[in-house]
């Protein structure tokens, strides 16, 4: 019986064969923490009393959730992480000025590579599966244990294979494919399992679209959302990587728990209604949904390709007078690129507010919190109750083009409506 890409990566790190269902303790290549999860991990790590990190060069710390510090308490947390990074010699420490949203930043900086095992104390660590890595989110205690030992306990997951075929419709991208998939299998449809994205459509997607898909694997409960590397992946990796990497692919006779196929020509732009990412409707069935705010950003859709899409829609147009449009580039590099390409000018002229990179409103931190009863369309990944502010506010998830178009129309609309 053949092996899946996930089984192969885990087997190489363990230096023996593995099969799904097995519990293993395996070596980790990269361990990630942020300003929210690292503080708890630091407390646990220091209680252990070990003198050093397993490998300071493979530890990454990013201050992105409540940074630039939104208040005194977040300032204290960032300070705590900063001191830890200094004390233990963590070079891959990203502070205000260099930082970006972690899952946009790590691939951009070449810190995560194909074939890696990446553990992050953040649920969207699954993003790096798009590079052909095994990458999954854990909690702070797990992170502390990895810092100390360089290893993690894992159950080798079973895999669901997703096959995307057919021609993509206009304004349909990775976000729509993954929302459609989550709508199909539900928010726990892939719980404990790896999702593997395949089919003729995948090689035609940009890295940005693929990262968006893998990013939201967790919204179906997935442990990983993995895509085998191809030419496009390597083109992305080569100029960035500063160490060796290895490319894996699933065998043709690998064992899957399930195979699901999607005809992409049937998939319209998708909108996830409150309060679950699985509560999706195609744009043609949205009806009349008026909004108060639109947010373009996050680790799901804050990349340069996403900003270009938004700019294409917004160019020469004005944001509806009753709408606040907030645009948050994912990293400093993306921000600079957006300035150079004139995208920021387009956003500001349209009446949008452009922010420094941060998670900000995505998890209800700051930079666009919703009041009671307000509705927001966002390119983010979660629309849980109260996710972006008041318990009685509502978040609708969509791709950057639909979000931009809706900001112009004042309600959720297809892009064609405002062109």
């Amino acid at each position: 019986m053949g092996k899946t890409i996930t089984e192969k990566i885990l087997a190489t790190h363990l230096e023996r064969d593995v099969s799904s269902g097995e519990l293993i303790e395996v070596k980790v290549d990269v361990a990630l923490g942020n300003d929210i999860t690292a503080p708890l991990a630091i407390v646990e790590f220091e209680k252990l009393g070990v003198k050093s990190l397993f490998n300071p060069d493979r530890v990454v710390l990013v201050l992105d959730h409540f940074a630039p510090n939104k208040d005194i308490r977040s300032a204290e947390q960032c300070k705590f992480v900063r001191a830890f990074a200094k004390k233990y010699g963590v070079k891959n420490f990203f502070d205000v000025g260099q930082m970006g949203i972690e899952h946009a930043l790590l691939p951009e900086q070449g810190l995560v590579l194909p074939g890696d095992i990446i553990i992050g104390a953040d649920s969207h660590t699954c993003t790096y599966g798009a590079l052909g890595a095994f990458s999954t989110g854990v909690g702070s205690t797990d992170l502390a244990a990895v810092w100390a030992t360089g290893e993690i306990w894992l159950k080798v997951p079973q895999t669901i294979k997703f096959v995307y075929y057919g021609k993509l419709n206009p304004w349909v991208g990775g976000k729509d494919l993954i929302l459609h998939t989550i709508g199909d299998i539900g928010v726990d449809g892939a719980n404990y399992m790896a999702m593997e994205f395949t089919g003729e459509v995948i090689p035609k997607l940009t890295m940005a679209d693929r990262l968006t898909m893998s990013n939201m694997a967790i919204e179906a409960g997935g442990k990983a959302g993995i895509i085998a590397p191809d030419e496009i992946t390597l083109e992305y990796i080569k100029p960035r990587a500063k160490r060796e990497w290895k490319v894996y692919a699933s065998d043709s006779d690998a064992e899957y728990v399930e195979v699901r196929e999607y005809d992409c020509s049937q998939i319209e732009p998708q909108v996830a209604f409150p309060h679950l990412p699985s509560n999706v409707k195609p744009i043609s069935k949205v009806g009349q949904v008026e909004i108060d705010q639109a947010v373009i950003g996050s680790c799901t859709n804050g990349r340069i390709e996403d900003l270009r899409l938004a700019a294409r829609v917004l160019k020469g147009k004005k944001v509806h007078k009753d709408i606040r449009l907030i645009i948050i580039p994912g990293t400093q590099q993306i921000y600079l690129q957006a300035v150079k390409e004139g995208l920021v000018e387009i956003f500001i002229e349209a009446g949008g507010a452009v922010s420094t990179p941060t998670c900000g409103p995505c998890l209800g931190g700051y930079m666009g919190i919703l009041a009671q009863g307000e509705r927001c369309i966002a390119t983010t990944n979660r629309n849980f109750v109260g996710r972006m502010g008041h318990k009685e506010s509502k978040v609708y998830l969509a791709n950057p083009a639909i979000t931009a178009a809706s900001a112009i129309a004042g309600r959720i609309v297809p892009v064609e409506d405002i062109l």
Binding site: L23, H65, F66, A145, A148, W153, G364, F384, V385
Partner: protein
């Protein structure tokens, strides 16, 4: 080991970590502080009215969403002795084992009501409903996880394994 307690609340499916501990409280590592806001996203009164040793029960996919360990910490720190659910989201499940908060996956939670008194045997994994005299089985933990539970969490396991 056996524990007994009353079912303080029975929650629906897909309770997410934003409901268990809203993001505004992620700026602290204090257990006492987190305890005060447990389940606040779904029930403002929860932390005030739950008693030491109470049990919470839920439908499927409890703890979905973010990896914030603040979520199981808040539940544990406010006195809840264990969680019984049809299923748990993966990261939440790990976090509970790692911090030593007992959890049980049980297919028969539909039969449990708010206010029932339950007795749970950690060895056999059997739940006895003292209010109805029913007995429910739970999914047994694999050997490795059993070990984690026995030693009291991941850090203790790491300490023992690496002789720290």
């Amino acid at each position: 080991m056996k524990i007994a307690g009353q079912v303080f609340e029975k929650f629906r499916a897909d309770i997410n970590t934003d409901e268990i501990i809203p993001a505004v409280y992620l700026d602290t590592t204090s257990y006492e502080e987190l305890a005060k806001h447990a389940m606040e996203g779904i029930d403002r009164e929860f932390a005030n009215s739950v008693s030491q040793g109470d049990i919470i029960v839920a439908d499927k996919n409890f703890g979905c969403g973010s990896s914030r360990e603040h979520a199981p910490i808040a539940i544990k720190a406010c006195g809840v002795s264990c969680i019984i659910a049809k299923s748990f989201a993966r990261i939440f499940y790990r976090n509970c084992l790692n911090i030593g908060l007992p959890i049980f996956e049980c297919g028969e939670v539909d039969k449990i009501k708010k206010g029932d008194v339950l007795e749970i045997d950690f060895q056999t994994g059997l739940i006895k409903n003292l209010s109805t005299n029913e007995t429910y089985s739970t999914t047994p933990f694999p050997e490795f996880m059993q070990k984690l539970i026995e030693v009291g969490g991941l850090m203790e396991y790491v300490r023992q394994k690496n002789r720290l």
